[in-house]
């Protein structure tokens, strides 16, 4: 294989049955791949197993003792073991099969959603004379492996040159995961010879956040686009009734209201409101991650809620034809996606959400967090609102006149953790103080004209968006 570092053979045969781990290179040095052990293609040779030596040594000792001291019963004891050893020797791997190699480690789907599963396939080549194959996978956070033991053994055809072993991986939480690293080993018939265990590097798996069912019938406050599902304030082609006016040149005949026309003796047409798309900016607060995260079916942390809510909102708005952008309030390198629409854009947003990491923002990075959004853009800020920075950003956006909604993603229950009862009590007190401080922040945000709604899934935004739409029709004064 190309440029693969050579896997140094272990000084003794550890096998996979015990608790020992294989050597991964010269003492104190790791291969350049950054993985434990060898890269795909690393080779190791066949070695006699302890099974072979056990049967041959015990059988030979029995035979010698039987002949030397005239004890045929010892031969009865040793003959089966000697036979097993001899058969294992006869069935040794062919001489040309000295370099078994891991050809590839790949997942069937490089990207999948939380709760979905994929197949991890490890392909081996150059292993004729092999009867059995064992593959073990190192545990990865939020990734379940089936079989549950994270190891699989299977019989293979000794005449074959290429074999593969499949394990099923189930993703429980969004994020970028390194899966599949572990060990692989094989044995010849009658377990006389073994190659490996060889360290196998992992492969990357992108777990996209689940698009929890979300639907909203609320209209955007300031739709400014071409074609969409939101009622615009201007008159145009649409279905929502706006008024009746006298016929002018250019009006379509199907718009004529015959009842009014007959009553007035003059042609009148029905006016409708235009239906336009809107721009939606999803602003995800990744400054902190509060609460336990147990995957898609378990407890959700604040960042879990934010990411899944952002995913659901993006899915909904893109489905209705809106333009959606993503901005992350988080450490340097946080993902950023511009406005766009369509399924490819949806994938882009979900991929960026999967790469999201919680972290603080340095003071010098604060200017980077200034958000400039086009007029009429609906800003949906998903935040547990535990940081003044998030509150400042929400208030600033609201004061510029942008319709801004804060979606509260703080989990309902956050367990106070600590090693002792005293430390847990102290943590609980600190958390209560934090909650009081948060109440103050939320009040300030609401006074700045930014409604705050807790994330409840479908219908979360209906009421608040209707109120924002009504407010948008009123005359207003804004600061820029």
């Amino acid at each position: 294989m190309r440029g693969a570092p050579t896997f140094r053979l272990p000084t003794r045969s550890p096998g996979l049955g015990g608790a020992q781990r294989p050597d991964t290179g010269p003492r104190g040095s790791a291969p350049d791949t950054g993985h434990r052990g060898s890269a795909p293609g690393a080779a190791t040779g066949w070695r006699a197993t302890e099974t072979l030596s056990r049967s041959l040594v015990t059988g030979t000792v029995c035979a010698l003792l039987a002949v030397a001291i005239g004890r045929p019963d010892l031969w009865v004891l040793g003959a089966p073991l000697l036979v097993a050893g001899l058969v294992a020797l006869v069935r040794r791997p062919p001489s040309h099969a000295r370099s078994p190699r891991v050809l590839s480690v790949q997942v069937r789907n490089r990207s999948l959603h939380e709760g979905q599963a994929t197949v991890l396939r490890t392909e081996l080549t150059g292993v004729p004379g092999q009867e059995q194959l064992t593959r073990q996978v190192d545990p990865t956070a939020y990734v379940d492996v089936r079989p549950a033991a994270s190891a699989k053994s299977l019989l293979v055809d000794p005449a074959g040159d290429t074999h593969h072993v499949d394990l099923v991986l189930g993703a429980r939480r969004w994020g970028l995961r390194e899966v599949g690293s572990g060990l692989v080993a094989g044995t010849s018939p009658w377990a006389g010879f073994r190659w490996g265990p060889v360290a196998v590097p992992g492969t990357s798996l992108t777990v996209l956040p689940a698009t929890a069912g979300f639907a909203s019938r609320a209209q955007a406050p300031h739709p400014r686009g071409l074609v969409g599902a939101h009622q615009s304030s201007r008159v145009g082609d649409g279905s929502e009734f706006a008024g009746i006016r006298p016929f002018t040149v250019g009006d379509r005949l199907r718009r004529v209201n015959w009842r009014v026309s007959l009553a007035t003796g003059e042609l009148h047409v029905v006016e409708t409101r235009a239906e336009e798309d809107t721009a939606v900016l999803l602003l995800v607060d990744a400054l902190s991650d509060v609460g336990a995260s147990d995957g898609v079916d378990g407890a959700a942390s604040s960042l879990d809620l934010s990411v899944r809510a952002a995913s659901a909102l993006a899915e909904h708005h893109l489905r209705t034809g809106d333009r959606v952008a993503l901005r992350v309030l988080g450490p340097v390198g946080s993902p950023l996606v511009g406005f766009g629409s369509g399924s490819a854009h949806r994938t882009r947003i979900l991929s960026c959400l999967a790469r999201l990491r919680a972290g603080r923002v340095d003071d010098q990075d604060t200017p980077r967090l200034r958000v400039r959004v086009p007029d009429g853009t609906v800003v949906l800020m998903l935040t547990p609102m535990l940081d003044h920075l998030a509150a400042t950003m929400a208030a600033t956006l609201a004061r510029t006149g942008q319709p801004t909604v804060v979606v509260d993603t703080l989990p309902t229950e956050v367990e106070a953790r600590g090693e002792s009862a005293r430390s847990r009590a102290a943590a609980a007190t600190a958390w209560r103080l934090r909650m009081l401080e948060r109440e103050v922040i939320l009040g300030e945000v609401a006074r700045a004209g930014c409604p705050v709604v807790p994330w409840r899934g479908p219908g979360t935004l209906d009421d608040v968006m209707r109120r924002l739409a009504r407010r948008a029709q009123l005359p207003r004064v804004m600061s820029r």
Binding site: G15, G70, V76, Q136, L155
Partner: protein
């Protein structure tokens, strides 16, 4: 060595699969079957020997890829040679079966970590092999019974067993693919 044994014991106790437990239980139990067969034949088993055998069995179960199992087997052979002066028919066949079971179970345990489920086809294949090599013991015993108990009988038995070994090697040569993927 002891650290490895302790580490292996923790791993085994933590999350061994039922089949993994089964194989390791056989590894621990079968040496005592050999002692019992010897006792049946009139041998007296001292506490020290029993403790050594128990230690060897447990260590072999915890570290099936080490050479502890070889040491345990040799200890059992030594016991048979020294403490069982004239073995009769049934006990020696029982002891041979126990030694084969110990060997097969240790081999199965060495295929993977204790948490790994042993595939049924692999277990069945090794049960068949165990039975086959026990037939070798039966042949050796029959050869010993048919001729006078002398060195010639042992050599004859060796020839018979060698022939069976070669036959078995080629009879069970090509194996079939049973569980790809």
């Amino acid at each position: 060595m002891m650290a490895q044994v302790r580490q292996g014991a923790r791993a085994a106790a933590g999350s061994a699969s039922p089949s993994g437990w089964g194989a390791r239980a056989v590894v621990v139990a079968t040496p005592f079957v050999v002692l019992a067969a010897g006792t049946w034949d009139g041998a007296r088993v001292g506490w020290l020997l029993a403790a050594l055998v128990a230690l060897g069995g447990v260590a072999s179960a915890v570290q099936p890829t080490s050479h502890v199992a070889t040491g345990t087997l040799l200890l059992l052979v030594l016991f048979w040679w020294w403490w069982v002066p004239s073995a009769s028919d049934a006990p020696v066949l029982l002891a041979a079966a126990a030694l084969i079971a110990f060997h097969v179970a240790t081999t199965l345990s060495a295929y993977g970590p204790p948490t790994m489920d042993l595939p049924g086809d692999l277990v069945r294949r090794w049960l068949g092999r165990g039975l086959l090599v026990w037939l070798v013991a039966l042949l050796a015993w029959a050869a010993e019974r048919l001729t006078s108990p002398s060195d010639v009988a042992v050599v004859l038995a060796l020839v018979v067993v060698g022939g069976v070994a070669w036959w078995a090697a080629f009879r069970f040569g090509p194996t079939t693919e049973t569980g790809q993927g």
